[in-house]
Amino acid sequence: MINKYLEEYTPSYTLAFYRIGFGALMCYSIIRFWYKGWIEELYIKPEFHFSYYGFEWAKPIGEYTYLIFLLCFIASFFVMIGFKYRASIFLFFLSFTYIELMDKTTYLNHYYFISILSFLLIFLPANATFSIDNILNNKKFRNIPKWNVDALKLIITIVYLYAGIAKMNSDWLFEAMPLKIWLQSKYDLPLIGGNLLQMSWVHFAMSWGGMLYDISIPFLLIINRTRIIAFLLVIFFHVFTLILFPIGMFPHIMIFSSMVFFSSDFHKKIINKLKDLLMKIGIKKKSNKTKIVELYKTPRSKLSLTLVTSFFIIQALLPFRYQMYPGELFWHEQGYRFSWRVMLIEKIGYTNFKIKNPKTGTSFMVDSSEFLTPFQLKQMSFQPDFILEFAHYLGKKYSTKNNSVEVYADSFVALNGRPSKRFIDPDTNLYKEKESFRNKTWILPLEDEIKGI
């Protein structure tokens, strides 16, 4: 049965459509990021950067960081036009992922989504038709294996489904938290801010609606009869979040991505319109010289399939790794990232560090704002891995050759409307603790349970 499935084909327009849109959105994303001065603000100005465990080597490279963004932009552009597609999408994946690895302060689920999506796209023949590569190689393909398109649909399904499952927790469903906090703060929004967004039933309706939307939308998109409604829902949902939250490019990317579920006739229509447009402005000339190949054969197809399958197995399992850590996930955040847990927690922290000289017994508090930007300070204050990394930075800074100082955290955090609680064991010398995947025993328990998956 699997073999039979692998031999099914689908028109190549769908992937070409996706390639063009993805490339264009990425070009726009990078220009926007650059234009807003965020490269400077987030990567060049700060003197210290928070790294992912194992990726401490990935740091901004001063003014040259702009070159990485430039590279990423060029790669996006080449992906869009389908020029040396494989190399370009590979370069895009590398440069974009490097940018994300430079500082985890900026971690966003949708950046992670773009990273893994571009990884997947390396294996998909998105340049099979309507690409510069067709002209260069003098051939194009009418059909591509169906699993190529299904792989895209699957990754989008995983994102929605897991986001929906993550919302099935008692804070989200029975306290309407944190939506309640966020919606209430939008009192200055015209029309709905002062009344609707302040009402309790609206918070609950939006919490439940959001959960049901996430778990059902991939299936509503797959089924022919519900697809139109589903797409309207997608637009409504994402435009709504766009208005309410500073969510950047994510709504645009998701609205666009959901179009991959449409029939290939739709993609063909769009591409033909684009062709007409290009011909009208004289960029494209009608040529019949290009050889048309009916079926695209995946080169080294076994390897590709193995890699793509492993990729999906990892994607399916990674969000559940939190099960290996005791205690409340939303509180200790061990295994929280890379799992489509979107907008689930409202956390404020207040964390200060005490440097103790064990030889003299004297100690002093550090003014962390001397080393961190306000944004880094905010993120550091409620995430244990940030706290540990910064404690090590301070420990190194204040230790001398023959006297290693001790670093203690004085840390308080409030989660989803609960009163603040001490977060880190104040008697643990964090400079002695090492980062690892093991449970961090120096995180104090929440002493409250958030039920759910």
């Binding site: 009344n195 009402m199 039933w201 404020i348 000289n357 100690s363 009163p419």
Partner: protein, 367 residues
């Protein structure tokens, strides 16, 4: 599929119908414009006027001392009006907003410790620019503190120096003048800024409510907690630095911090700082009382107020001069600091969360 859609609609129906009956608005519905009006009419405006009046008194006492020749009587008079002015300042420092922020008002009035080397070199050269940020610690109230109390070890010595060629008197004259002119800039600007301030009720980083709350917390943490207690107690250094207390030379540190804590409490609970009446309408306390569903002592508003009171009691039990307190029993001083610190957590974490104040640290995307 139809069944599925139907069940979605039903769930929505159930949720909305069981909550429909009491369509109470539960959000932070506090009227921000009332809050801003209260802050302006009961705190900002009277505090600035009060400070400005005390400063005028100081100025006129100084002028008459200067014109009639300074002696021990006029020195004492000057010292008294200096003390009243410094006390009045404690109600103003937290409002670092608008013109005050623009002209670094608080930095020019109250950066301590005073840079005495700089003061002396300014005085002997007679050539200085008070607008130069390097001269911020060589002007304002801490410099007056130094000149009226610290330039000699006895009053006789101080008087001699003050009389000597009038150099010190001239310097006093120009820093008092600078404070007056900065103060009137701030006061005048409020006349026009007022309208913009009172109508700025939205939830952005630059709106008045958000700026005021952030300034208030910043002042409590830095201007009050760290400057008056933490730094001299040695919290941020490996040893105490008692000479960094506020008003080191006159030794008025306790009086000043009591005034400051009073001003903080007044703003929080909604009490006019000078006539003592608890006004009606919004204050941070009344808003938190409403917002927090917990009752009694578990309500955040009451928690904060009682922790403020604990801190006030600790402050009251300290010696008049914090320099002596730190030298004699720094532990007691550190315990006071800890009590003050406990309030910071509640303000910065719990209160900000409940108020849904957007603290936009950086203009970046979220998800």
């Amino acid at each position: 599929m139809k069944k599925f859609l139907l069940s979605i609609i039903m769930v929505f129906g159930i949720i909305s119908s069981c909550n429909d009956t009491d369509e109470v608005i539960v959000g932070p519905t506090f009227d921000r414009s009332i809050l801003l009006n209260n802050w302006f009419n009961n705190h900002i405006n009277p505090s600035l006027n009060n400070f400005s009046n005390e400063l005028s008194q100081l100025k006129s006492d100084f002028t008459s001392a200067k014109n009639n020749g300074i002696d021990i009587v006029s020195l004492e008079k000057l010292r008294n009006s200096y003390k009243s002015t410094y006390k009045a300042w404690q109600y103003v420092e937290m409002f670092n907003i608008g013109k005050a922020e623009e002209i670094y008002y608080t930095a020019t009035v109250n950066i301590y410790p005073v840079n005495t080397t700089r003061v002396e070199s300014n005085i002997s050269s007679g050539d200085y620019n008070l607008n130069n940020p390097n001269n911020y610690p060589a002007q304002g109230l801490p410099t007056i503190d130094y000149i009226l109390f610290g330039i000699g070890s006895t009053d006789t010595e101080i008087l001699e120096k003050l009389k000597d060629e009038g150099k010190y008197m001239n310097y006093l004259s120009s820093i008092i003048e600078e404070m007056s002119s900065n103060t009137s800039k701030v006061v005048t600007d409020w006349e026009t800024y007022k309208a913009e301030f009172l109508s700025s009720t939205d939830n952005t980083a630059t709106s008045a409510v958000n700026m005021m709350v952030n300034d208030f917390i910043f002042y409590y943490e830095k201007g009050f907690r760290a400057n008056k207690f933490g730094i001299p107690a040695g919290v941020f250094s490996s040893a105490p630095i008692p000479e960094n207390v506020e008003a080191y030379y006159s030794g008025y540190s306790k009086d000043l911090s009591i005034e400051a804590m009073g001003a903080i409490k007044d703003l929080f609970i909604g009490r006019h700082p000078f006539n003592g009446t608890v006004y009606s309408g919004s204050s941070l306390k009344s808003i938190l009382l409403d917002l927090d569903s917990n009752e009694g002592q578990n309500n955040l508003a009451n928690k904060i107020e009682s922790k403020i009171d604990v801190a006030i009691n600790k402050i009251n039990s300290l010696e008049e001069n914090y320099y002596n307190q730190i030298q004699n029993d720094n532990n007691k001083f550190l315990q006071t600091y800890d009590a003050i610190q406990e309030v910071v957590v509640l303000l910065k974490v719990d209160m900000l969360q409940l108020l849904s104040i957007n603290v936009d640290y950086v203009d970046a995307d979220g998800d």
